[in-house]
């Protein structure tokens, strides 16, 4: 009994902090998502109307919301596998015994992660410029005519994906690298004695051993990529033709540009539900994966 009291004393402060800075704002945001809070309500609370699930129903009828959702799914569907692939590839290269200057490359490949999105995005805008950009210059060497990366609705999102993958792969790479280094060498030795090719070693030793880490990295990356915001905010402002409006960018515009905080809160909860559902699916998928193993 007494020990329980002591335990509460230790947990208490943390619980209070969580309640005040997490639970309360989340509840308040949920309550707000059931109203039409806007600048009129800011002027006078009598102008606030409780609309129930009206915000949510209306959102589902807004073409721009669906477009934002589509853009975000496009970004996640293409960006996450690409990001994981690049991370894994880089980790394998760094883990190879043939690689020299390992720590140099590790730092160099990790560098984009610690840079500021805004600063790098400005540099990428120069790289992606239609007439004077380096990327189009290189493509030009192969006879490909200049692409209007950030001005063409078809290419803006791929450009953003390219940028985001470059910016983020280093983080996953470091985690995967740690995972690779934890795989016991004798497994590879045993595989080699059994005559496994290097691809077979990768397929039947590296991948299964790495599976739990890949799952975690995958979940984190998906959750992170769903919250796409800074890249389009800095590089395209959602354009051209709203082809790079992500769900979070949509929420930002609703909330802080147009000050429809009720609507913006509803978007936030929709996004939360979406990420939650996808993560559940991933966990279930991962569970099945390990059973197969």
């Amino acid at each position: 009994m007494k020990r329980q009291h002591v335990a509460w004393c230790f947990v208490g402060p943390a619980l209070v902090v969580i309640a005040v800075f997490f639970a309360l704002p989340v509840l308040a945001a949920f309550a707000m998502s059931l109203t039409d809070f806007d600048i009129y309500a800011l002027a006078d609370l009598r102008n606030l109307r409780v609309v129930g699930i009206g915000n949510y129903v209306e959102l589902l009828q807004r073409p721009l919301f669906w477009q934002a959702l589509g853009n975000t799914l496009y970004f996640v569907a293409l960006g996450v596998p690409l990001s994981l692939g690049v991370s894994l590839g880089a980790a394998l290269l760094l883990n190879s015994r043939l690689t020299r200057f390992q720590s140099f490359f590790r730092t160099a490949l990790f560098a984009p992660v610690v840079t500021t999105v805004v600063a790098v995005a400005v540099i990428w805008r120069y790289l992606l410029a239609t007439r004077s950009g380096f990327i189009n210059y290189v493509l030009g060497l192969f006879g490909i005519s200049p692409i209007d990366w950030l001005g063409n609705p078809h290419f803006a999102m791929p450009a953003i994906i390219l940028f985001a993958v470059w910016k983020n792969f280093g983080y996953n790479m470091v985690i995967l690298l740690a995972g690779l280094q934890n795989i016991p060498r004798d497994l590879y030795e045993a595989a080699r004695i059994d005559g496994a090719s290097s691809f077979a070693q990768f397929r039947f030793v590296t991948l299964p051993m790495l599976a739990p880490i890949v799952t975690i990295v995958g979940i984190l990356t998906v959750a992170g990529y769903f919250q796409l915001f800074a890249e389009p905010y800095v590089m395209t402002q959602g354009g051209p033709l709203q082809s790079t409006v992500s769900v979070l960018y949509f929420m930002y515009e609703e909330g802080f540009k147009w000050w429809n905080l009720g609507n913006a809160s509803a978007v936030a909860f929709m996004l939360f539900l979406l990420i939650f559902a996808v993560t559940l699916l991933q966990m279930r998928g991962a569970g099945r994966g390990s059973a197969w193993q």
Binding site: D36, D38, I39, Y40, L42, A43, D44, R46, N47, R49, R125, A129, T130, R131, S132, D148, L150, G151, P153, T236, Q237, G239, P240, L241, Q242, F256, K257, W258, W259
Partner: protein, 418 residues
């Protein structure tokens, strides 16, 4: 601990109200916020007992910061406010009407350009004093226009179309007759304001974009893309718009007063006489343009309104406005300031002087900025092809009506904050 914080805050409060010095808190944005500080020593010298505390806000964060300040009861005494923002802050009940103060001051109300002053009048009451003006008109390459066989800049839409066609016929690949960046709504808005039909109807309850007037302006605007006079560019497609203007990538460009200074600075000396400005053409003769710019507003919650008003009066003085113009390039809103040689002799400013007599305010509803954003998006969609003008204006009306839903409800309740 809370008490200690509260006490500390109170002390900050009391130190500000030191015996014989009144502190006026003034929020200004961007470059203006920087330059205005050079004008203040003279004000503080001629107004002993008043000290001005300027806080500079970046434009991108200004709107958010002002609304947060309002919600947190921390608004400044006076503030620079873009004149399209005024209706919103009036709806919030944050501003102090200024009719009485202006009537008692030495400023002649009729000295302001009528269209500019009108943007500050909401429901019949003056809510701000114009500080500097902004409108959009034609910048053009005179040499290229002459080479295409056109001697004078166009003053009507039909002349304009003729000039555009002549320019297109001679254009090299990759160069165009006119630049209308797709991320800017102002050219379309200016053309729409030239029409007699208002953009919103029933006291701002519904969109009026299916009206004959708007359709005419919209059709003329997207026609410039359809006919290949204007490229489908956004601002980010041109790494440097001034270089491209110098290179002749486009002959006409609809832009604002800040570009007078930019073009003077950035174009090579050889092109000095090659570019000029002209008022915006209208359907049958010189047409109207947008009444833009920024005003100085006084906040209702301010405890030092009299001192703050003196600062507004000082900044509105023609001689001060001219010094402000010299440092920023911002154009003064009072006709008397324009009589000064600095402005009267500026060939590029002359078209602005003429245009300012013909400027019209955008609809004065708090939702306007959002509606104009929809206008830009719909126009971009039509310009890029695939959507007809008919469908576009219908869509625009329905989006506008959705945005104005709350306003209609408010008006029906008759509970609008005064």
């Amino acid at each position: 601990m809370l008490l200690a914080v509260a006490a500390a805050l109170l002390c900050v409060g009391c130190s500000r109200g030191a015996p014989d010095v009144t502190v006026v808190r003034f929020w200004a944005m961007g470059r203006e916020g920087e330059v205005v500080q050079t004008l203040l020593p003279e004000f503080e010298r001629t107004h002993p007992g008043i000290r001005v505390d300027v806080q500079q806000l970046p434009w991108t964060a200004a709107h958010e910061k002002l609304l947060t300040a309002f919600a947190g009861d921390a608004t400044p005494d006076i503030c620079q406010l873009g004149n399209t923002w005024i209706p919103e802050f009036v709806a919030l009940g944050a501003l102090e009407p200024l009719d009485a103060r202006l009537a008692q001051s030495s400023i002649d109300r009729r000295d302001f350009f009528a269209g500019i002053l009108d943007t500050n009048v909401i429901d019949g009451r003056l809510q701000g004093v114009p500080w500097y003006v902004d409108t959009r008109l034609l910048f053009y390459r005179r040499d290229l226009l002459n080479a295409a066989g056109i001697a004078e800049p166009p003053s009507s839409w039909s002349d304009w179309t003729r000039a555009l066609a002549a320019l297109k016929a001679r254009a090299k690949p990759g160069s165009y007759a006119i630049l209308l960046p797709l991320n800017e709504v102002e050219p379309l808005l200016a053309l729409a304001l030239q029409q007699d039909d208002p953009l919103l109807r029933d006291d701002g309850r519904h969109g009026n974009f299916q009206s004959v007037g708007f359709r005419r302006a919209f059709d003329f605007y997207v026609g410039m893309f359809r006919d290949g006079y204007a490229p489908l560019y956004t601002a980010s497609d041109l790494a440097n718009v001034w270089n491209e203007f110098g290179r002749g990538t486009f002959t006409f460009y609809i832009s604002g007063p800040w570009n007078i200074g930019e073009f003077k600075r950035r174009l090579p000396p050889a092109l000095e006489g090659a570019w000029a400005t002209a008022p915006l053409p209208g359907r049958t003769g010189p047409g109207a343009s947008i009444a833009g710019g920024a005003s100085l507003v006084l906040f209702r919650k301010s405890p030092v309104k009299d001192a703050a008003w003196q600062l507004i009066e000082y900044l509105a003085r023609p001689d001060v406005a001219l010094r402000f113009h010299a440092a920023t390039g911002d154009l003064p809103p009072r006709r008397s300031a324009w009589n000064d040689t600095a402005l009267a002799d500026d060939v590029h400013a002359r078209a602005f002087r003429e245009q300012l007599e013909r400027v019209k305010a955008a609809p004065k509803v708090p939702e306007w900025e959002r509606i104009s954003d929809e206008m830009r998006l719909v126009a971009e969609r039509v310009a890029r092809g695939g959507v007809s003008v008919d469908d576009a204006v219908r869509e625009l009306d329905s989006r506008t009506d959705r945005i104005l839903e709350k306003r209609r409800w408010m008006l029906a309740q008759q509970r609008r904050t005064p």
